[in-house]
Symmetry: C2
Subunit: 228 residues, 2 copies
Amino acid sequence: MLRRFGFPGLELMADFHIVIGNRRYSSWSLRGWLAVRVSGVTFDETVVPLDRPETSDEIAEQAGRGPRLVPLLHHDGRTIWDSLAILEYMAEQVPAAGLWPGDAGSRAVARSVVAEMHSGFRALRMELPMNLGVDRSGQGYSDEAAADIARIQEVWSNCLSDSGGDYLFGDWSGADIAFAPVVTRFKTYGVSLEPRLQRYVEAVLTHPAMGEWYGGAAAEPWVSPRYE
Amino acid sequence: MLRRFGFPGLELMADFHIVIGNRRYSSWSLRGWLAVRVSGVTFDETVVPLDRPETSDEIAEQAGRGPRLVPLLHHDGRTIWDSLAILEYMAEQVPAAGLWPGDAGSRAVARSVVAEMHSGFRALRMELPMNLGVDRSGQGYSDEAAADIARIQEVWSNCLSDSGGDYLFGDWSGADIAFAPVVTRFKTYGVSLEPRLQRYVEAVLTHPAMGEWYGGAAAEPWVSPRYE
């Protein structure tokens, strides 16, 4: 499924092309897609539904030298893979989008929390997979997942103390992108939060790009037994 | 254990301070330390041996808002955590060190392979932990670890095809830093490689900073039963 985002008058510039999994489940794709979407460039999008026999081959056709994983970004003859590399790429390509905080110290902390998210929180990922189509607010989880959730609350609380805005580092940034799938999990699994963190969750969920993503997810026909 | 690296005449500039685990086992620490070391700044170093009852508390004393994990970098009143954020920070602080390739396309691919390494290869990490003090060349591993090893070989092979130098992107870069612990694992576990990849392994192992790290590891008194 190929779609185009952006302004028709800029079609000649639409040489960004992102390959994502279906929106209902693909948390890594959400990150890569948000980085491209909020940067404001015109881009094409291909959705490869996950967990079908042909999924891996379909991704491989798009992956170039990357792994058979989504998201993938094509631009200017390049294939860039992994949501964090896509985020850094868009930050370089569109500095005016402010994907990283302008202050060097804030940027360093933003990258710290993003990198921590990128390599960690395995129990949260495995036990509370992203699923935008269900309500699982009664479901329990292990002590390991509880520790992951507690650490994320600590990170958000620290960031919001210094933020001065609705998001982790004031304006929307790569840190909010990295945690956006976690925000959806906290909603799906009914994780109770102190008021300031709940306001942050609401701010992320009501961001226009998140609304687009949720709308797209609701319109998708694919349901995977593995996640349902 | 506190040590200072760099030039005595620059002591007034030694406001970089890295906190690492012991060199024998701490693969994440190796990455963060290499980023600081090859950047050429003068820095202090604190080693917190892993897997002791007091390890977590000792790291917590240094961690600021970071998790109780190494490596941590202190600079200019900031605490930066996670090896990848430390790499990006040093790349910004010392652009002349060339921690990322100068060409935007090469840089995007370098960040792609680094981010892939950062979030993946779990089987390799768990089954073939870094241990600089042993030879385990006869040890077998699972199909999942074999797939991780095959993908890393593919990544290296692709990068070296375009490199034009001894390292993945010509000169030493963040990509070599990210894979340095894997290089040590391939040596420790006797992973057989085609000649070009074996030459790459030798190039990394004979890099002066890697020699310093191995020398430091050999001088450490701590041995952890968990890894031996």
